[in-house]
Symmetry: C2
Amino acid sequence: MQRIAARPLTKMAFEPFGDVIETEGLMPRIINKGFARRFTDLCRVDTAEAGGTTGVSIFEASPRVLPIRLDLMERHPLGSQAFVPLSPDPFVVVVGWTGSGDIADLEAFVSNGRQGVCYARGVWHHPLLALVEQRFLVIDRLGSGRNLEESPIASAITVELP
Amino acid sequence: MQRIAARPLTKMAFEPFGDVIETEGLMPRIINKGFARRFTDLCRVDTAEAGGTTGVSIFEASPRVLPIRLDLMERHPLGSQAFVPLSPDPFVVVVGWTGSGDIADLEAFVSNGRQGVCYARGVWHHPLLALVEQRFLVIDRLGSGRNLEESPIASAITVELP
């Protein structure tokens, strides 16, 4: 049994995999006569490949059993995929798989619940790893074409939460 | 002083103005080996006009003082604009303005906090009307061109909550 330690999600650490959707550290534009603060363009939406369009969906996720056992990785060769939690509960993000079965480069992060993620096109990631019943807004590509590749994780790997 | 009564937000009532982003009444697709339910394509993302792209932003809204006094209406002639609350708190939506100053066709709705809205391109709407400090994920058009029209509301109109 191997374990990977999850660390807090940060823009810097997540940069090779896509965007962290958060307002932390950013200066907003004040709008609506002071009643709102706008933080614009927080992730790259990359969905137009092969005639794709941008879709808005909701995922309802059930909590994983602890310790979280990793199962398979997936990636979307034709588009980015953003997940933004609709309640401020932490959830786990696992990326870094090369598809070769080598786990040495797997990385696990924990969102603080005010952070979403946008996987860049083609980035391997584990399917949603929620810790409670949690809803997510998902922004990804709609359209024809083969936009899902899966890669099972054969060895037993669990994620150690901080 | 005129008052308009806000009613619960429903897809049917909001249909002339755009989409209600919600899962209520929809059948999901079961994904992630049963760990998630996917509700796909919940609003029309209409952002490509005049070279526009789709942007993901966060708005932080401050609560309005009750009773809510309407101030001005705005619309985006070049693109749709979706607001999805990042906490399950009710908020108010006002639409229906024709830009002529006639308030007879104003309509007010209250989201149950699990509902977002997507204003169709060109639909007049009031800026965000939050009842508590609340964050929203916003999906709208990025790009050049004049994408904001405003129309002040001269007469005194308040919204009556249910």
